[in-house]
Symmetry: C2
Subunit: 246 residues, 2 copies
DNA sequence: CAGTGGTCTAGACCACTTT
DNA sequence: AAGTGGTCTAGACCACTGA
């Protein structure tokens, strides 16, 4: 019985990842691609696609002529920067049990630079939501989202604590496709430090980002601050030329 | 005449990227995949691989049923975090004309935490190289590399200013395959601030990273500091599930 | 040398968008 | 309905690794 949603490739990937985490593949050697293809009744191409994704996210590594192996180190990375989609899941991946507190919801007239970033005219109504993510009553992340009001079918409220991409699917008429983010080092000012429960002047990472939908229209302008002592970001860097069928 | 190194996929990617930058494809619409395959005399799979890479790095975006389009915003991103391989090229991509100054080269006994990170015994000789990257005599990046001495065939000198991956290829017996990096917010201390030409207490991004070779052996432990006013990192984030043949 | 991953092909069918 | 990208197949040949 073959189910095609999610795609075969995603299913193969999930299957393999589960087995890797469960600890099958003793000695860290993963069966050959042809073997997996036969066993799972899919083509080698599909297996290779799945393996490529696992390799790209650091779960496995491949050696031409030798085989495919589990990457114990990659398995320990909980939050890979390129894959963050909701801060709630980031905290869960860290073993936290996050709660979310909406600090404020307000509608304001858009000013520079936000109207430029969002490609709207100056003065257009902008919904500004400030949220705090906490782990066991300790604040970890502070975010501010700015969304043009006309992208919302339903007004935002103090209860709109769902992840933003979900919120936009249920309350909005644009769906988030990707974020373009800048990483900025800051020292927290009085307000930020108080909300995050640290002393003024603590260094922190800030994300300055714009979220776009499938049509490449800017949908949200977000700024987020992270407590480095509770949440440290990691990533894998490769030479661009060495990527294998990525 | 078909040359197979670099791979066809890379050649197609390079070809398309050049045409995109040159400004062919007026109105931002890129020809259909079948069309490109015919024109370039390769299979559609190869074209798709190339387009997937361009999409992943933000150069284009695709809409099922509609077509493939140039992403003007992505084109403006000079240094994508996941793809940094040499700081020299990062600065060049920013339009800078970088120079490199070796500050010091020394051999010391490895201590914690470096011996753990590099999986060597405490006390093993470690070559420590401190480099400064400058743009027009303004310092931009400060890096410290720690390499187990036994991975070098030739001793490092004050002239070893080549990018580290290149240096290891010519002077070492291990080749860098990937870095695993942590992103840390810091305020620069006296020494760092003086070297980078900013005031003490300036916030900055630091990379704490370990470079591995193909066999997953740790080869180098590096720490780097960046002047945010001269070099800002960007990245693209996508939901993990939505990736297309990445 | 046999076995592995790396690349590429040609073709099929599907889901979606546009006209 | 026509055209686009999304997925998948089966098979080929190559380059590299290890015994």
């Amino acid at each position: 019985m073959i189910e095609r949603n999610p795609s075969l490739t995603e299913q193969v990937k999930a299957n393999l990842k589960a087995r890797i985490i469960k600890g099958d593949f003793t000695d860290g050697k993963i069966p050959a691609e042809n073997e997996l293809a036969t066993e799972l009744r899919v083509s080698r191409t599909t297996v290779r696609d799945a393996l490529s994704r696992l390799e790209h996210e650091g779960t496995i590594f491949r050696k031409q002529g030798a085989g495919t192996f589990v990457n114990e180190r990659g398995l320990q990375i909980k939050s890979r920067l390129e894959e963050i989609w909701s801060y709630e899941s980031v905290l869960q991946d860290h073993g936290y049990n996050p709660s979310i507190r909406m600090l404020s919801v307000a509608t304001k007239a858009a000013e520079a630079p936000y109207c430029d970033d969002l490609e709207i005219v100056s003065g257009e109504p902008l919904v500004v939501m400030r949220k705090l993510f906490l782990e066991n009553s300790k604040p970890v992340i502070l975010t501010v989202n700015r969304i043009p009001e006309r992208y919302l079918r339903v007004p935002a409220s103090m209860d709109s604590t769902a992840p933003l991409f979900q919120f936009l699917e249920t309350h909005g008429n644009r769906h988030l496709a990707y974020y373009l983010s800048e990483i900025e080092p800051v020292v927290l000012d009085g307000v930020q430090a108080r909300l995050l429960g640290v002393t003024v002047g603590t260094p922190a990472i800030a994300f300055q980002e714009i979220g776009y939908d499938r049509d490449n229209t800017p949908v949200v302008r977000a700024t987020s601050y992270f407590r480095d002592d509770l949440l440290r970001f990691r990533l894998i860097r490769r030479s661009a030329g060495v990527r294998k069928t990525p």
